[in-house]
């Protein structure tokens, strides 16, 4: 297949346009995807940045107010070895002290599967006082789940 030079120009222009579109969109829409220990380690540089944090809902300290649709809880690191297969590999180098962060999600209904001990992905921003102001809380709901043997 030969393509005449002027066709080559047309094809390259379109390819370049698509490439640029991808490049610029990545820049403006990307967000850090971090584990709880990684957030702890990078706390200083994350202020105001859109982040997604994968962690586990810490039992206790969970408050749900259905009138204002506000969910407050604490998110803790997912243990390294997880029998169920946690979706996120923690970066071992950053597995510092098991820190946890307070999450405040306002204006969103509580997800069905939300419960203490569940793995969640929290989308939002880290505020100055170290709280995560969440715009979304997603529970990892495996579409093909593996039931626990002890049942």
């Amino acid at each position: 297949m030969r393509i005449r030079p002027r066709f080559f120009i047309g094809v390259s222009l379109i390819a370049a346009a698509i490439g640029y579109l991808i490049y610029s969109s990545i820049r403006t829409t990307s967000e850090y995807y971090l584990t709880v220990p990684e957030v702890a380690a990078r706390q200083a540089e994350l202020g105001g940045q859109a982040i997604r944090v994968a962690g586990r809902v810490k039992p206790g300290n969970i408050a749900w107010d259905p009138n204002s649709l506000t969910l407050k809880f604490e998110i803790a690191p997912i243990p390294d070895i997880d029998a169920n297969g946690a979706p996120v590999k923690p970066v071992s180098a950053l597995a510092a002290d098991p820190a946890s962060f307070r999450v405040i999600a306002a204006g969103e209904p509580k997800p069905d599967m939300f419960a203490p001990g569940r793995d969640v992905i929290v989308e939002g921003k880290l505020t100055a006082d170290g709280t995560i102001a969440a715009t979304q809380v997603m529970t990892s709901c495996p579409s093909k789940y593996r039931p626990k043997q002890a049942q």
């Binding site: 698509i18 599967m113 990892s140 709901c141 579409s143």
Partner: protein, 673 residues
Amino acid sequence: MPQLGNLALAIALILAVYSIVANIYGARRNLPDFVVSARHALWAMCAMVTIAVVVLWSALLRSDFSLEYVAAYSSTTLPTVYKITSLWGGQQGSLLFWTWLLSIFTSIAAFQNRRRNPDIAPYALAVLAGVAIFFLLMLNFVTRPFELLATVPAEGSDLNPLLQNYWMAIHPPSLYTGYVSATVPFAFGAAALITGKLDDGWIRSTRRWAIFSWFFLTLGNMFGARWAYEVLGWGGYWAWDPVENAAFMPWLVMTAYLHSVMIQERKDMLKVWNLALIGLAFGLTLFGTFITRSGVISSVHSFTQSGLGPYFLSFLIVVTLAYTSLLIFRSKELRSPAEFESYLSREAAFLFNNLMLVGIAFAVFWGTIFPVLSEAVRGVKITVGPPFFNRVNGPLALGLVFLMGIGPLIAWRRTTASNLVRSFAAPVAIGVATGIVAAAAGLRQWYVLTAFSLAAFVLGTVIVEFRRGMNARRHMVSEPRAKALVNLVAKNNRRYGGYIIHIGTIVAFVGIVGSSFFRTEVKKSVHAGESFTIGSYTLRFQGLDESDTPHLESATALVEVLRPDGREITTMSPAKLFYKRPQQPATKVAIRSTPFSDLYVVLAGIDDSGQTATFEVFLTPLVFWLWAGGLMMVLGTVVVMWPNVRERAAIATALSRSSTDARELADATPGGN
């Protein structure tokens, strides 16, 4: 019984290996007996895999919990239909199901080519057997469906409640059928490369397979979107999740392929491109399975992490390297004497349509693997969500729609200015008028205005095409309009079926644009008797209706929907469910759909007293048209695939004369433009 399943899978593996050897040996040494026995081996392989499937199905239906798979994905109380669907509810079963489809399609391809394509068919069947070997190796050694449990539990742990709905019966099989049937054209493309028979024989022989695959990929994606919309309760139908992307990318590439093969058939151009596209489509089906099975990319509905990832990745790499080497090896022979002559030609429009489709596929691919790439390069995982995909694909979709209007009306090779004016004056006028009307109606977003204008433009071009065809018919044979229209489509089903698919795509596109830009959402906690509004609707919460069965507990909210004048339209009943085994809550969405907009009510929560309920309500305009457009795409594809009676008859007559004539006739493209 489980031993029977294991035995059948082992024999199937041996048969597949034998089939490769016999096919290649027979074809190289010109020993037809070996090729025949290789074909029989493939049929026997299909029979063996079928036995394995029957064994697993019977174990599921008999609730034989001595099998680990049955204990993990079924239970005695599971309704029969879900026991059947449990075959693809878990990993081992879905791989077995995949292998089963592959062996069936391979057998059909072997049957179809028992006299046709003696040069390339043995190699194509060898490639199909090679793919089957990979899956059979997995089933025999890595993820065995007939693994027994040491202690037999009294009860199974049931199929995930999220999978217990009728979509489970139709969505995965459609998608798998689409995925797996793409292997057939791929195998014939690979065979063309291996043998050096690089004319378009492989394309013609597998055209129906490619359309068949595209048909089921379309269905699979549509069903998946509809499933998400009806069941998941977030008001949308597409979240650009890796699992969805994995199904979307092969569809895009197959769409590109179906268009670009027309250029090869007509103009003998783009040979390398077509071979590359079909290779890419097949590679993406493997890639999809890899990302969903490996846990490399986290998805909101992440699958169980399993050891399958490395195997799929290795197989993907081997296939990619082998196929690319073949392409490079044959690159000189693949040069086409023909050239693109003008930007204003149908082949140019098709070329750019291909660029757009592959560009979208690439953007989706890039966005999907970006977290992995960024972690490898920068040491930190960076994700891109729906905003990325929408920003990139929005403009590309507009370009694609524009080309969809241009392509069918523009002439091959080159077009004159007067020709352009004659063809496009009316459609352009329709498009511009639509834009003006939309702007006058108060729409201001540039994207929406452009999208609606372009959509109207494309519909205009299709109408012009249908009119032209009808007038031509009525000129030759005097027929009433309706009859002319029916005959036009019936006699040129490939072409006009294609236009029906285009109309469906445009209708779906309008639905997507409308639902993406104009969706409104209200979240509200209310006491019984209170009401709230969304759009022009008033919703009054009447109260909760609770029930408790051994299977599940449920709370149903009764919501009266009122018009502004206070007239009641309907009562909707969204519910919250709580499955008892495994203990898991779920949401039942209530949807009231009209062509104008969908009212989508989710009972997001209830407080302990049972007096207050939290609702999440979405008003989504035009989403109806997404599903309507999908239905039209499906109908159009049926028209395209419909066996052309005259074509059949001609082939049959020729068959009785000589097989060579028949092959030529079968290869000819009646109804093509």
